[in-house]
């Protein structure tokens, strides 16, 4: 637990751990924008599990489902710790979602979801490639980070 104290402690909130080194800023950009609360970032920490890792601590923030889904696409191996009164009360492993509901937009300009107000939905077709199929136009996409911005 030594490395925890290299990054400022939080009392209540969420710790996102085991992010691949170099991805913390991307994660902050995608899910950390809309909060005034304290955020601590640790980059290139030593990890027994993955060598070098990044870590983010959000004070007073608990991830909503769409945020967890986005995180899962960016860093499927990350883990989430929920902290209450300075103690980790819950550890969550995240996994790549089977369905993405209103998380990403379809890149096909001729898809109905870009022409009428409809919620997007994508189905996982290949976990290894992070490949999803649009519910409407049925195009398949390998989800790269630029889908999430």
């Amino acid at each position: 637990m030594k490395e925890i104290y290299k990054v400022y402690r939080i009392e209540n909130g969420t710790v996102i751990d085991h992010l691949p080194a170099g991805t913390a800023l991307k994660v902050i950009e995608i899910i950390g924008k809309n909060s005034d609360d304290f955020i601590a970032i640790g980059m290139n920490l030593d990890s027994r599990k993955i060598g070098k890792k990044d870590l983010i601590k959000y004070e007073n923030k608990f991830l909503a489902r769409d945020e967890t889904d986005k995180l899962a696409l960016l860093a499927p191996g990350a883990s989430i710790n929920i902290v209450k009164d300075g103690m980790v009360v819950e550890k969550r492993k995240i996994s790549i979602p089977a369905i993405l509901k209103n998380i990403i937009a379809c890149k096909n300009p001729n898809c109905i979801c870009n022409l009428e107000k409809v919620e997007t939905e994508f189905y996982l077709t290949n976990e290894e490639k992070k490949q999803y199929r649009c519910k409407y136009c049925e195009r398949e996409y390998e989800i790269s980070d630029d889908f999430l911005f």
């Binding site: 096909n108 001729n110 898809c111 109905i112 979801c113 022409l115 009428e116 409809v118 077709t125 290949n126 490949q131 199929r133 649009c134 519910k135 409407y136 136009c137 049925e138 195009r139 398949e140």
Partner: protein, 305 residues
């Protein structure tokens, strides 16, 4: 009545037991068993995008089932041209019709329509995406002429990369145990996610560029058009187009009982000089579209069971 009320949007939603059932009922319709099965029903035939061929086939099928038809044959005639959303157009027509058949240039339009309509929706083509009734008639023709699909050797030739009918047919054939010969120029090969899909289903396939290499092994040769627009260089197009044309010069490389199918319209892929060859079954295939669509209308209406 198992399939009463279901939407027919994409091969992705269907399975072998549905296809087997549809094949069986299509055969019965063709034998004259279900005439006027949908008498008293109203079918909305909504062609937001014109397609004379598909519309006439559906119109004939509707007549065969004894149902009445309402609708339009171009977007200009529909209220979407006045700025109404697709969802609102469909919700309104849903008040009048028992079944909605629709063709639209936007991909996913039929899926969206099915979400807002209570009546079953049949996708008659949504942009470059799906055209399931074409696949059903292709499959029925194979079933009828070969009495099975399992263990057949089926050649798919032409534009395998962009061809919508090919992609749907590949999906349908993957429910059976056919061996596929994917014949195309190298730039128009079947996309890799379809190959991955075939592999995941354990379907044997071979990729090649010249049908004459395997012609005498094939039970079916399914041809599609290669579009000029796919090629930057017109010389390259001409070279490719010629080598994918079936004519008197190369038809003898097919076996005596190979059947030649094509979704039509054809351009240069099959020379009219082979139309009288007993292996050429594409017009017969087009006729089967009427029976297949009639059976489908009856099944989703709950009138054929």
């Amino acid at each position: 009545m198992k399939y009463k009320g279901i939407d027919i949007i994409s091969l992705h939603d269907l399975d072998r037991s549905f296809l087997d059932y549809l094949m069986k009922k299509t055969k019965e319709v063709k034998e004259g068993k279900w005439q006027n099965a949908c008498k008293g029903k109203i079918v909305a035939s909504l062609f937001f995008e014109p397609s004379t061929r598909t519309k006439l086939s559906f119109d004939t099928a509707i007549a065969l089932t004894g149902a009445s038809v309402i609708g339009f044959s171009s977007a200009a005639a529909s209220s979407t041209s006045k700025g109404e959303s697709l969802s609102d157009t469909i919700k309104t027509i849903d008040q009048y019709a028992d079944i909605i058949v629709m063709r639209h240039s936007v991909e996913g339009a039929a899926r969206r329509a099915a979400e807002v309509a209570n009546a079953p929706v049949i996708n008659a083509g949504d942009g470059a995406n799906q055209h399931p009734t074409q696949t059903f008639l292709d499959l029925f023709t194979i079933f009828e002429l070969k009495e099975r699909v399992d263990n057949l050797k089926i050649g798919l030739m032409g534009d395998l990369r962009f061809g919508r009918t090919i992609h749907s047919l590949v999906m349908a054939l993957s429910f059976y145990n056919a061996e596929l010969f994917l014949i195309s120029p190298s730039i128009l090969k079947l996309p890799s996610y379809y190959l991955d899909y075939l592999e995941s289903k354990g379907i044997k396939y071979h990729e090649l560029e010249d049908f004459t290499e395997v012609g005498n092994e094939l039970d079916v040769l399914y041809c599609t058009r290669i579009q000029r627009e796919r090629f930057a260089d017109p010389v390259e197009y001409q070279k490719v187009a010629n080598s994918y044309e079936i004519s008197r010069d190369n038809i003898e490389s097919l076996a005596k009982n190979t059947i030649i199918l094509h979704p039509l319209p054809r351009v240069n892929e099959i020379s009219p000089t082979v139309d009288d060859d007993p292996r050429a079954r594409y017009f017969y295939q087009a006729k089967n579209g009427v029976y297949t669509r009639a059976a489908l209308l009856g099944i989703v209406a709950g009138s054929i069971s």
